[in-house]
């Protein structure tokens, strides 16, 4: 259980890994966003990947692809992997709001401009 380090792990490990996922897909940085929050009391990390590419994709298939990537990239961090609560959402759904709005409890992951232009 990640406990008190949950938010740090979300911010500095899981969110950047999701950013690399988007980059590896060739997505335009403006077409996706990453959101994270933590519940350190129970050691859970919540991450939400919002992407225009998910608008026309089955949500469970999209989640499987993201999870496969996280498992590969974070294989050296099994405790972190076990602590992840994942969600994926299309950009149009988020724009619709209501049930699909990003919860204010999430922090948005801000990329550094030079990082966004790097090739991975």
């Amino acid at each position: 259980m990640v406990g008190e380090t949950a938010l740090t792990a979300a911010r500095f490990l899981v969110a950047p890994t999701l950013d690399r996922f988007g980059h590896a897909r060739g997505w335009d940085p403006s077409s996706y966003s990453i959101h994270y929050r933590a519940n350190p009391d129970v050691g859970r990390i919540h991450v939400l990947l919002v992407a225009d590419a998910f608008d026309d994709q089955d949500e469970y298939q999209a989640a499987n692809e993201v999870w496969d990537y996280l498992q590969r990239e974070l294989r050296e961090e099994p405790e972190i992997l076990k602590s992840i609560n994942l969600d994926v959402r299309g950009g149009k759904k988020v724009d619709e709001g209501g049930l699909y709005a990003v919860a204010p409890s999430y922090h948005k992951y801000w990329r550094l401009p030079q990082f966004s232009s790097e090739k991975h």
Binding site: V42, H46, L99, S105
Partner: protein, 148 residues
């Protein structure tokens, strides 16, 4: 003081909780018929919270809920229900795990459900919240109910 820590809320029984979560689901259906989808979504969250409190009573074999567990944090209630290890053993991309994440995230937005106008929430969105909770194979409540 040990007695205070394990104090029961004797105004509510385990049987009350078992009936109440079912009633809140029925309430949600009725609210949907009346076009009050935001409140219907909120009532589904209440149903999940009450169900977890019922499971805690079952797990501890106690006749009343504990005063100390009069909380609304679904993730903490899941821990006390004894079902967290089973749920978190699912891959994070499993439909039940995804839907649990969505419901716990939504539970942080109860103020939106209370204070935003009714038109914020659509029938389709309410149907989605019902699917997250009650779908026979993907729904969180359906899955929890199958766990010993």
């Amino acid at each position: 003081m040990a007695g205070e820590f394990a104090k029961f809320n004797k105004e509510i029984t385990r049987a009350d909780l078992d009936q109440a979560w079912r009633d809140r689901l029925d309430d949600a259906t009725t609210l949907d018929v009346g076009g009050r989808h935001g409140t219907a979504i909120a009532y589904r969250l209440y149903a999940l919270e009450i169900y977890l409190k019922h499971r805690i009573c079952l797990r501890l074999d106690i006749p009343h809920p504990l005063k100390k567990l009069e909380i609304h944090d679904l993730e903490s209630l899941l821990v006390f229900s004894g079902l967290s290890a089973a749920l978190y053993s699912l891959p994070a991309s499993h439909p039940v795990a995804l839907n649990w994440t969505r419901l716990t995230d939504l539970s942080t937005r109860l103020n939106d459900l209370r204070y935003m106008p009714a038109l914020t929430w659509t029938a389709a969105q309410s149907a989605d919240s019902a699917r997250w909770l009650e779908h026979p194979t993907e729904g969180v409540l359906s899955w929890l109910a199958k766990q010993p």
